[in-house]
């Protein structure tokens, strides 16, 4: 029982980080139909922001809390810059956007290598987050994972409120549902696209902060996790946040439990097979906006 619960918890915390990354992708993919391969490097930017802030502030706890908004802003600004310089010129060619942003991701990785050096760096976790918390009986949960879970819940709640209750959230939803109709109704779609990019990339920055609590920071840290996040978007469907939320946690739990029963390599393959099987049943993903378009 304890084993099951602790595996479940590990899975959920893997899913939580995945969710933060996938939310940004789902937002931009859902609204503009572009695949941003440089999203992983925004995660890296968030992680290095945490590292730089900790070197400057030295207190691990304070610097971590400061890093959350700063990483959001840094990664968000990078996203807006990318959208403004490149992606908006390529909205008609989604597959080409994928390759162009892959090039950007190569450039950013090499830039990080030149600035911070090729070897991985590490941040110190604040003392509060290094221990375990006993939940019940023998069941303990690592504090850093609990913190990440809380962070993700907060971020998702904030995003939901922003999309449901604010005026710019309403505009974002309008553009996602019908871009042309939104445009003729006076919604400044180009500005809304940029805003979505800011929020989506900023969330990746926060994911980067969370990842510093789990492992080392390196120039290629974004490459591997980004593929899992893309799979969340593919399976979760676009246009609804709840698809990403559910699928991220399911994939996290699936991955960690198969990994517990067998090995990491088998788990990756099992997840891939499960995804292809799922797409046989729901090729558009778990949740999707209903439209009449054929494409």
């Amino acid at each position: 029982m304890t084993v099951v619960a602790s595996q479940l918890f590990t899975g959920i915390s893997i899913g939580a980080v995945l969710l933060l990354i996938a939310l940004g992708l789902a937002l931009t993919f859902g609204q503009m139909g572009v695949i941003n391969m440089a999203h992983g490097e925004f995660i890296m930017a968030g992680a290095y922001t945490t590292f730089v802030l900790q070197s400057a502030i030295t207190d691990a706890g304070v610097s971590l809390l400061v890093a959350i908004p700063v990483a959001f802003a840094v990664a968000g600004a990078m996203g807006v810059l990318l959208e403004f310089l490149l992606i908006r010129r390529l909205y008609a060619r989604p597959l080409d956007t994928l390759l162009v942003t892959w090039g950007v991701s190569l450039l950013l990785q090499q830039l990080a290598r030149d600035i911070f050096g090729a070897p991985n760096v590490q941040t110190r976790a604040p003392e509060v987050l290094t221990g375990n918390t006993r939940i019940a009986g023998d069941l303990t949960m690592a504090n850093n994972r609990l913190f990440i879970l809380g962070l993700v819940v907060l971020a998702v709640a904030a995003l939901t409120v922003a999309l449901r209750l604010t005026s710019f959230g309403r505009r974002i939803r309008a553009v996602v549902q019908n871009r042309d109709l939104a445009a003729v109704s006076g919604v400044p779609t180009a500005r809304i696209d940029r805003l979505t990019f800011f929020i989506g990339s900023g969330l990746a920055g926060i994911a980067g902060v969370a990842l510093t609590l789990l492992g080392p920071i390196g120039p290629t840290m974004g490459t591997n996790i980004i593929i899992d996040a893309f799979l969340v978007v593919v399976v979760g469907g676009i246009g609804h946040l709840r698809g990403s939320v559910i699928v991220a946690f399911v994939l996290g739990v699936l991955q960690s439990s198969v990994e517990y029963l067998t090995t990491l390599s088998v788990a990756k393959v099992a997840v891939f097979v499960a995804i292809v099987a799922f797409l046989q049943w729901r090729p558009q993903g778990a949740f999707t906006l209903r439209t009449r378009s054929l494409a």
């Binding site: 993919f29 994928l98 090039g103 593929i227 393959v269 995804i275 797409l279 090729p283």
Partner: protein, 347 residues
């Protein structure tokens, strides 16, 4: 236009079989052999992506399947009847050959597997994906995830696959010693012949009714469906053909270079295959070949001396070529000639 194709073909044969072996040193020639293997993969990507619109970011998987199939046979042949390949004894967890290694001792099976195994995997995955109309970016992501899963699987099963190191130190090639420069030359000629032969085949395919249909599916899948064709089948043929070419390339890469490893087939090399195709001109026949060779050459020359600069250049190539010149260098020539139909054929 037929005589032009034939003339071009003859010119290619003269360059590959006459000029290159005469001018290049043994070392350079074996490098060219390696580049031509990448060019073989590129021809397949040109067909699937340039003509069919299927952006496959996982060709490394098929390259790897072909390469591993060939390397497994050569390792077994090197070890001799009844012995384990050297790395298996080194890691020492096995006393007998795993069952799935055994058939590869048979040369006919191994050779067939280098091409058929990738095609079977592509057939299975392609059927499942295209039948349910999963396409565009979704397909690209899935193909990339396949490459990621394959690499992790290979690394995880170190005892039977050689893990991160891969299968190395391949010495013999069906009885010929690969250390001998004469035999290296023979391998080069085999690769060049395969490339020329496949180019002729793919040219026929592109100019056939099927080739027209493939372009039609790329440009307007729904219309093709309404005309009564099944786009899933059309795409499947291109995907499986590209997989077979990548498998053959992987199989030829092994004797040419002497190694196959996860680092050669993962996410990064898989997407590197694509950039050569994009630079040369994705929808043309020769563009992918020239682009792949040029990129591989630039990589060897630059990355030895300035590894950082090469990555910057590669990133910049992705950004500039694909954003500004989606038709590749092939379209540049046409743009410069200012022909009235010089518009990009397929942006």
């Amino acid at each position: 236009m037929k005589w032009r194709a034939a003339a071009g073909f003859a010119l290619g044969a003269v360059v590959l079989f006459g000029v290159a072996p005469a001018v290049l040193s043994d070392f350079r020639l074996s490098l060219l052999a390696k580049y031509l293997c990448f060019a073989l993969v590129a021809v397949g990507i040109g067909l699937a992506w340039g003509r069919g619109g299927l952006l496959t970011l996982g060709q490394g998987v098929f390259f790897g399947l072909g390469g591993y199939a060939m390397a497994m046979h050569l390792k077994l042949a090197d070890a001799g009847e009844g012995n384990l390949p050297d790395f298996m004894e080194l890691y020492g967890q096995l006393d007998a050959l795993p069952w799935w290694w055994r058939p590869f001792a048979n040369p006919v099976f191994a050779l067939a597997a280098t091409v058929l195994l990738p095609m079977l995997v592509a057939l299975a995955l392609g059927t499942l994906i295209f039948r349910r109309r999963v396409r565009g970016a979704y397909f690209a992501i899935l193909s990339q995830a396949l490459a990621a899963a394959m690499v992790i699987l290979l690394i995880g099963q170190q005892g039977t696959t050689g893990g991160t190191n891969g299968l190395t130190d391949i010495e013999g090639f069906f009885g010929y010693d690969l250390d001998d420069p004469v035999n290296q030359r023979m391998v080069y000629f085999i690769i060049a012949a395969c490339l020329l032969g496949l180019l002729a085949l793919v040219r026929q395919l592109m100019h056939s009714r099927y080739g027209e249909l493939l372009v039609a599916v790329r440009d307007s899948e729904e219309r093709v469906r309404f005309l009564g064709y099944n786009p899933a089948t059309v795409k499947l043929v291109a995907y499986v053909a590209a997989a077979g070419m990548a498998g053959l390339a992987g199989a030829l890469f092994v004797p040419a270079v002497g190694i196959i490893s996860p680092a050669l087939i993962g996410i990064v090399p898989s997407i590197e295959f694509v950039i050569g195709v994009a630079i040369g001109g994705r929808a043309t026949l020769l563009g992918p070949v020239l682009g792949a060779v040029a990129v591989a050459y630039a990589k060897t020359t630059l990355s030895e001396r300035f590894p950082g600069a090469w990555i910057y250049l590669q990133g910049a190539l992705f950004v500039i070529v694909i954003a500004v010149l989606p038709g590749g260098l092939a379209s540049l020539a046409r743009l410069l000639r200012r022909q009235p139909h010089g518009r990009l054929e397929h942006p």
